[in-house]
Amino acid sequence: MSTVATDAGAHEHHDDHGPAKGIKRWLFTTNHKDIGTMYLVFSLVMFFVGGSMALVIRSELFQPGLQFVHPEFFNQMTTMHALIMIFGAVMPAFVGLANWMIPLMIGAPDMALPRMNNWSFWILPVAFGMLLSTLFMEGGAPAGGWTMYPPLVLQTGDAFPFLIFSVHLMGLSSIMGAINVIVTIINMRTEEMTLLKMPMFVWTWLITAYLLIAVMPVLAGAVTMLLTDQFFGTSFFRAAGGGDPVMFQHIFWFFGHPEVYILILPAFGIISETIPTFSRKPLFGHDSMVYAASSIAFLSFIVWAHHMFTVGMPLTGQLFFMFATMLIAVPTGVKVFNWAATMWRGALTFETPMLFSLAFLFLFTIGGFSGLMLAIVPADIQYHDSYFVVAHFHYVLVPGAIFGIMAAVYYWLPKWTGVMYNEKLGQWHFWLSTIFVNITFFPMHFLGLAGMPRRIPDYATQFTDFNTVASVGAMGYGVSQLLFAYIIWQCAKGKGEPATAKVWEDPKGLEWTVPSPAPYHTFEEPPHVSKHDSFD
């Protein structure tokens, strides 16, 4: 599908200054493309750091008994793996994609607040440096789970204030990034780009950014209260002082459930870009996709207590949260059927971004269905804190969010680097990832249904076979991601067939009207939005 570059660079301005030289370019840059690149590289590094921790967990669970690590260190690994993957890998990857693509998609020269953009990024390495440093502290890293429930989390050693401060910094970075996204989309669109003409990736990011602004301060408030309970004698969550530890769970999940959609809505936007391109048809029901994403965002605020059915609540509360959760299946179903309808009778081809998008569609739906099972109160009381839950959220987050990110990287990498990635290696990466991800996570459904609890370093012998299979799958998945890093590295070095401006066969959107690689400065003059590049 790719062809040799022939397009003239209509957007090249030879009087422009280019990037600064050396390390200063990256430290002081306010360019959205540079900052997007830094976010994406940081995310990839964190993906491997968090992935290494997952491999420690799966190595220990390869057989029953304690083989490699102490139970305390095992708990540190589960806690750190989650924090790093959620806040260090998936969220920064989406922010990186937003930085790179939103200005290009709406015809803006840059993000609205470029200096704050630089600051948002550089807070992150500090936050994660601080979090990772706790591994070397007295008492080790946080081990009470990423949910940080009191009173357990208050038993954390020297790492506790570092955990809290790093969560504050991650939240600050996310809020600043979200403000930047909203301000850019609201104020920097080219004149002809009305809201309903915007691509779905921009729409889903706009909704995600509103979610971030609403819920990240709630997480920050909750961990601030933990900090004051620990060091300043307050009793927000201390039962002995009149506080309520269950209140923390309510506040945490008021943040935590919208967070799930923060991690998945941008992926919905990505595959709403890739599926039409590789089906050679416009997206089916663009406006209904916007309304469905908005409905999902709204519903995400009124379902939080489904994470804590077993904590005890009135029957009316259980029923409300059960039915509200099930209601999310309606707008999600609208999206899934619209993607299927987009492909219906399309001229489909199966390049790597399309393969990852299709895997997303099938496997995320499995994660969605197991979520529906977990929403049923009497069933949830059986599944709660079992490996079934681990299987569910990994299906949502790995072949869901992470496959969405991989689809995006393969889709836009030629636009970023100016060269096509190696398609054959991309297909290898896809098949290895898809096979191993299922070998890893599918058996976990059976383990959970058979009663294996989550967050344990040892287990009864009847769980051995499925655990061994899952561990082999995890090793395979981990190793196959080295191929992903190699493919990106090759493109970054400029090795590959030169990419055209359009890269694919007649894709829609303003980002394809600039040359590949995208010049350092783009859309200094507001572009015209042709009928072809409009999404209404």
Partner: protein
């Protein structure tokens, strides 16, 4: 150049206003949840 120096005063004002409103919303949520929790416990 693509930088903020090329924006019109009206565009600068709109950008500043939107950013400040959003930052204020974030601060209200942060302190609001702390105050509400302290009142309920």
């Amino acid at each position: 150049m693509a930088g903020p120096e090329n924006r019109t005063p009206e565009q600068k004002r709109r950008i500043r206003r939107t950013a400040l409103v959003l930052a204020a919303v974030a601060l209200v949520f942060y302190f609001g949840f702390i105050v509400a929790t302290s009142m309920s416990s």
